[in-house]
Every structure is written in C-alpha cells, then in structure tokens.
C-alpha cells in the first residue's frame, strides 16, 4: 500500500486518482501509524515552502525520516522534492530534510515566474546521442538507464511544471530541465526519489513514472 502524505497542502486526490488508474493501491494518510505501515510513501504538495512546517508540527517529519532511513521507497512531488534538500529561500527559517545538499532558490528575473507548463527533461549522465546508442546496444551506463524512476520514458519527454522556486543540480540529479538555468527536475538516490514536476498531471509520461515508482 502507498501512503500519500496529507499535511494540508495540495491536491492529494489527483495523485491518488493517478495511482488508481495504474492499478496501485494508494491511500491518503495524515497519521504516522498509516505511514509507518505503508510499503511506499509519496509526499506531494504545491504552494509555499512554509506549508511543509505542518510536517514538523504534526510529528510526521520524524515518521518520514525513519521510513526513508529504513529503505522504504519515497517519492517527493513538487514541494515534496524541495523538502528533500536543506531548505528554501522561500521560507529561510524552515529546515528541509537535508538528504540532498543545497537550498531552493527563486528563478532569475529574466524568466517569467511561476514556471508553468510543459517542459522537457534532460536525462542526466549522457548526451542524447549516447542515450540512443545505449538503447540500441541494450543496457547501457547512461543516466537514463540508471534512473529507476525514469527508465520507462521515451527520449526528451515533456512533463508539467508549476513552481516559482527550484532545487539546484547535485550529484543525485537524474534529470534536469532548463528554465533560465538548469535545475533539478528529478533526483534519485537508493530508495529516495523526487520530482519537481507533477507526474499526476503529465499525461502518459507521468503515469509511466508513477508505475516505475510502484516497481522499485
């Protein structure tokens, strides 16, 4: 069972509907006991970084960190990805989980903010031509092949974003997107996954990502 963490931020039912659609059992949960019992955890969320303070107040933060440390697959979506980092300029006093280094920052003034719409993913670790070579020659070593979350995607997939702050590119970045500058569109390390975009609103590509999460 997948627990979709309810901390009062964002459209949780759309995430649940997407899991329903691919035949995965998911439940919206605001209590630690349900999260502790789940096989997989999804932390969604849209809006202001300060909304994540509800995790601290409710004690859910400790449950999430414990589950992650135990090796349970975890997927952060949008604010949920940003929570995995040290923090955000959007709410400087609120600490993130600190599982990935760096702070989320606002997009530069040269681009419109929020970043709204469908943008493409650059899968990390290899150029496009290397990707296609890898696919032709079976399992390769590109970032595309290594990412367990993005493994089912076609090349240059488009996904739907809506956010004003972005997470920096780190060694754990599995896909970047360009919007005024390259940022972390997806991160991945062992059982910890995060996506800045909304897989539940990204059409067929998004459903493939959620399916991959159910299989890791």
């Amino acid at each position: 069972m997948i627990a979709i963490v309810d901390y009062g931020a964002g459209n949780l039912s759309s995430v649940r509907k997407a899991f329903d659609h691919i035949g995965a059992e998911a439940t919206i949960a605001g209590q630690s006991s349900i999260i502790d019992a789940a096989d997989r955890i999804v932390l969604p969320g849209v809006g202001h970084f300060s909304a994540l303070s509800a995790l601290n107040e409710s004690g859910l933060r400790d449950s999430l960190l414990k589950s992650i440390a135990s090796g349970k697959p975890f997927l952060g979506i949008c604010l949920g990805l940003q929570w995995l980092f040290d923090g955000s300029e959007e709410a400087p006093d609120l600490a993130g989980a600190g599982l990935f280094p760096g702070r989320c920052r606002q997009f530069p003034a040269k681009v419109k903010s929020p970043h709204v719409g469908w943008n493409s993913l650059s899968l990390s670790g290899a150029s496009e031509s290397e990707h296609s070579k890898d696919r032709e020659s079976g399992p390769g070593k590109s970032g595309h092949e290594r990412s367990r979350l993005l493994c089912h995607l076609p090349s240059d997939p488009f996904v739907y974003f809506t956010h004003s702050f972005y997470a920096p590119v780190t060694h754990a970045t599995s896909a970047t997107t360009d919007y005024g500058l390259p940022f972390s569109a997806a991160v991945e390390r062992a059982n910890i996954f995060g996506v800045q975009f909304h897989p539940e609103k990204s059409g067929a590509a998004g459903l493939l990502i959620l399916k991959a999460f159910c299989e890791v």
Binding site: G10, K17, H21, G47, P114, G117, W118, T162, H163, S164
Partner: protein, 253 residues
Amino acid sequence: MLTKRIIACLDVTGGRVVKGVKFKNLRDAGDPAECADAHARDGADEIVLLDITATSDDRQIMLDAVSRTARTLFVPLTVGGGIRTIADGAAVFDAGADKIAINSAAVRQPELITEIAMRFGSQAVVVAIDAKRRNSGFEVFVNGGRVPTGRDVIQWARESESRGAGEILLTSMDRDGTRAGFDCELVRAVTQAVSIPVIASGGAGSVSHFVDVFREGQADAALAASIFHFHIESIEHLKRELHAANVPVRWPC
C-alpha cells in the same frame, strides 16, 4: 525548453458543453468528461471548464461535471464560472480542479484573489479577464461579458498579478467565436505588462492564428473551443504545424 500550451476550453451549462458566437447563440457540443478526455488524447496540454451560466441551481451539476471530468484526466484542469467565495473555490478544488478561474468576483472583491492564493497557492489562481476594445484601449467586462466595468484591462491585469494571481486568462470579446484570429495587440499589451503567464483566448480559427498569437502576441498559452469541438482543426494537426513553424510545443505527446 518551456513549450507553448494549447488549451481546450469547454463552456458548460446545465452539465453540457456548449459553444456560442460573441458569447451568444449557444450550440450543444457534448458531454464535458467525454470532450475533455478526447481533447487530452488529441494532445491538449490543459483543459478549462467554464460554467457560463453559473447560477446557484447549476452549482451541483457543475461540481458533478468537474469530478467526472477529473477522474480520468491526467493533464491540468482549470474550472471557472460563478466562483464568488473561498468556499466555492474549495468545493471546486475538492471536485478535482487543479486551478480555478475567477472573473466577475475578482473584480468585485479583488481580495478574493489573495485569499485563494494564500490558501491554495498562486499557481492555482487564474484571473480571467473579458476584454473589449474601446477608443483608447481595452475595457474589462464582467457577468459573462454583459456588464462593462469602466476598468482598464492592463491596469487590472497588473493588479491581479500583484494580488497573487498565477496566470491571466485573457479573452477578446470582439473575437470570441468569430474564428477571425486572436487579438494579438491586446495579448501583447498584457504579456508586456505582467510577468505571469498569459493565456490568449477568443478568435482562434486556423494554425496561422496560433503562430501569430505566440510570435506577435507573445502569449504563453492559447485557448480555443469551437475549432476543436466541431473538428475544424484537430489539436494533433495544429501541434504538428506549430512544430514545423518552429513554435515549441509538446509534440509528440
């Protein structure tokens, strides 16, 4: 690269999709959930449901239409029409909308923009502006285009942004349903005045109109209804043509 969005709009009344010309002469165009699904499969980047009569009697019918539409739709869904209070907005989000569009109520109580943005995030608030040409510019109309407000469109777009709107849905009343092309001058005036995305609406009739509104109007997204419903243009064909014209679009999708 961030792509230009093609948005299919479903005008809904009494639970059915309808389409008129210059906000009048309505024709039946089908079931909202079926239309939304068909448009998404055809390549629509987003779906907008607008309750164009939005009386309190229709409220429950509309919420049912929203939840039926949202159930199997995996692209963003915006819902507008008759949202007057934060409770109205919350009901629409609960039914499965990702964003809500507010129009008349935002003009009457601009603080509603801020209230909804604070509770659901700016990304969830689309301020819809119905604009009509006047001698010296563009005037904001409300109540489905029936009531002039004396407000200037550019000023109102700027105020909406400063109050927390995440996007502007800009409809040219002069072009609505005419298929004579978007009002690129209007669109460009607004895109240059605000830094949030602007969705151009009203007048779509051919591929070249979309190319014009993205190039000359600098629109971030373009919305159309009648040309998609009545199969004058398919979204798939439109996107292929836009791609060929070097307008960045989500294609293939």
